[in-house]
């Protein structure tokens, strides 16, 4: 994919159209200045600005994160460029009443994958072509079959270790955490007005970046994303300390998939696994 490819062109046309038709107040897309290693979000308010839009395999960010931002919401209806994987996040946002469908105009792009070599998530992507968007640009991409066992390889790898090694591994990883909260800030689903970390009466999670606080923080994060995380991998990408955060989320995704047959973000109508139950749920391990 090149930045000046047909998708970019089509995106610009679509964005220009909806901006000049005043269908949206802002279009969120990807842009990249010369020399930049990867794309940066751009916020277009005028049709003339669409030249800033690009789309190629360096468009890493999940722009859905901006949908819950008050500064963006003030601009009116939001046009947003979404890859299939991003769309899953949008679905969760819709389900959780963060956004209303009528307040967003989804510009889907057929995406063959990001990065060179391809990101691991792209290799097992099941949504190369977004569905349910208002506009879709690009050519439909053949969807390779993704087997169930391919989905959670990262978690599987860690799970394969004995429990003591896992403990050691995570102690080492979590001790690196500097609590910059970039993982939270970049997550499209961490939209809380007040994060649990910020609740200090009582203090649910210790804020100090020591391993105990870090463990609590990442456990809380994992729990809060269980059944919601769509595996976009942004947390891991932006972690300045290179902590394999994706593996934790993947583990929980695997748990809800295997236990409750639930996979997040494929529809805005699904119930979340932790807000419902089945009387048939496993009793294993209960005394």
């Amino acid at each position: 994919m090149s930045a000046n490819g047909t998708i970019t062109q089509a995106l610009r046309e679509a964005a220009a159209q909806m901006l000049s038709d005043k269908k949206v107040g802002v279009v969120i897309g990807y842009g990249r200045d010369e020399g930049q290693e990867f794309s940066t979000p751009v916020f277009l308010r005028k049709a003339e600005e669409v030249e800033r839009l690009v789309f190629d395999d360096l468009c890493f960010g999940n722009l859905a994160v901006y949908l819950s931002r008050p500064a963006i919401r003030k601009m009116g209806k939001t046009g947003i460029v979404v890859k299939g994987c991003d769309l899953r996040a949008v679905n969760v946002l819709l389900r959780e009443n963060v956004i209303k469908r009528e307040d967003v105009l989804l510009i889907g792009v057929h995406c063959g994958g990001l990065g060179e070599p391809r990101l691991p998530k792209c290799l097992v992507c099941e949504v190369h072509s977004p569905t349910g968007c208002d506009v879709v640009v690009g050519e439909a991409i053949e969807q390779p079959e993704v087997k169930a066992e391919q989905r959670y390889t990262k978690a599987d790898e860690i799970e394969a270790k004995p429990v003591e090694q896992r403990w050691e591994f995570w102690q080492k990883q979590l001790s690196k955490c500097i609590r910059c909260y970039a993982c939270r800030q970049v997550c499209p689903l961490c939209y809380c007005k007040r994060c649990i970390i910020e609740k200090n009466t009582p203090q649910w999670v210790e804020t100090s970046p020591h391993v105990r606080g870090n463990l609590a923080w990442h456990v809380a994060r994992a729990l809060h994303l269980t059944g919601r995380c769509v595996g976009c991998g942004e947390c891991e990408r932006v972690c300045p300390m290179d902590i394999p955060l994706g593996a934790i989320n993947q583990k929980m995704a695997k748990v809800v998939d295997e236990r409750f047959g639930f996979r997040s973000g494929f529809s805005a109508e699904d119930e979340a696994p932790f807000t419902t139950f089945s009387t048939e749920d496993s009793e294993e391990g209960i005394l």
């Binding site: 990249r32 200045d33 020399g35 930049q36 290693e37 990867f38 794309s39 940066t40 979000p41 751009v42 916020f43 960010g61 994160v65 901006y66 931002r69 008050p70 500064a71 963006i72 500097i178 609590r179 910059c180 909260y181 970039a182 939270r184 800030q185 970049v186 910020e198 203090q203 210790e206 804020t207 100090s208 970046p209 020591h210 606080g213 942004e234 990408r237 932006v238 300045p240 290179d242």
Partner: protein, 340 residues
């Protein structure tokens, strides 16, 4: 600072230094390869662990003096209701940092200003005192580097105890700036000889000037309220990456962590990008949006800090632009300001 002395070091100076320091029971930090493939300072016991060729370390020196989390004191409530206070004792062991970049070292000057301003921060100063900084002049700055734009230089010696100019054959020219530096040279013993008279320092690497901080400040003086802040902060996620990786950012937060009867007071990093940073207990937030917080960050670095201390709170290391999750570019923003 006295006169600067130049020494010439042989190709095995690094091995000599590590061996000598370790033998002397000195803690040695040097650039090493981390698990994730980055280069960062870590404790070394052998010169083989040391990475010689790198643009800059992943982390600045800041955390060595202002740790991310630092216990200031511990307390325990006794049976009789008395409270036992136990100040955290500082490590007094000597520490040598073997290899770091002039920009990061220069940042220490700014931190010093903060922690030794109206009150000398004991925890900070102890760490500062025990540390000898041996910096390495830049020969190949990375594209994100812009030290020259903020008054620095790839071979700036500010705050360095020793500034090393490496050569391709691993020999080096060493500029000693302080007594601590002298001590270091002494420890190197045979590996160094005073440089011949008239030895000239190499020409500093070429680095384009990206903006003019004076002009930037001029604009900042007049534009507390501007669309610029909103426009340029739209993409900002408000994560703390830029400031946590900044060599000069030094905001912290003090918390007490306690259980039923004992606890500790800690000093943790904080960040002005966080929405809660200025949140009042009343619920009011004087910096209610990311634009205000973004403005604060720039203003602090290029206006308030210079006004207070006569120094820019930026050394041009480029970590903030390199690590920004959304590719936000400080240089571009400043160039933009300058063009206004």
């Amino acid at each position: 600072m006295g006169e600067q002395k130049l020494y010439q070091a042989s190709a095995n100076w690094l091995k000599s230094a590590v061996d000598a320091l370790c033998a002397a029971g000195v803690e040695v930090l040097a650039p090493t390869q981390t698990d994730s493939g980055k280069v960062d300072l870590a404790r070394v016991t052998s010169s083989e662990q040391v990475i010689g060729s790198y643009a800059n370390t992943a982390f600045p020196l800041k955390r060595l003096f202002l740790p991310m989390s630092e216990v200031l004191l511990k307390y325990e409530k006794g049976e009789n209701g008395d409270v036992d206070l136990e100040p955290e004792s500082a490590e007094a062991k000597e520490l040598v940092i073997l290899g770091c970049r002039p920009c990061d070292v220069a940042a220490l000057g700014m931190l010093d200003k903060v922690f030794q301003w109206d009150y000398s921060d004991v925890a900070y100063q102890q760490k500062r005192d025990r540390t000898t900084v041996v910096s390495l002049a830049c020969t190949e700055p990375s594209p994100e580097c812009f030290c020259t734009s903020v008054g620095g230089s790839p071979q700036g010696s500010e705050q360095s105890d020793v500034l090393v100019f490496g050569n391709a054959d691993n020999t080096a020219l060493m500029q000693v700036n302080t007594a601590k530096g002298e001590k270091f040279i002494e420890r190197l013993a045979d590996a160094v000889t005073p440089a011949p008279e008239g030895t000239k320092l190499p020409e500093p690497a070429e680095l384009e000037r990206k903006f003019n901080p004076q002009k930037v400040k001029g604009w900042l003086d007049d534009n507390f309220e501007s669309d610029f802040w909103v426009e340029n902060s739209l993409g900002c996620l408000g994560c703390g990456t830029c400031s946590y990786l900044c060599p000069t950012c030094h905001c912290f937060d003090i918390v007490d962590e306690a259980s039923w009867n004992r606890g500790q007071r800690r000093r943790n990093w904080d960040c002005c990008s966080f929405s809660q940073f200025t949140l009042h207990a009343s619920g009011h937030n004087p910096r209610p949006n990311q634009a205000a917080r973004y403005r604060q960050r720039l203003m602090h670095k290029f206006k308030y800090f210079p006004e207070r201390f006569g120094l820019l709170a930026c050394v041009g290391c480029g970590r903030c632009l390199k690590n920004c999750a959304v590719g936000q570019n400080l240089i571009a923003d400043l160039a933009d300001i300058e063009s206004r």
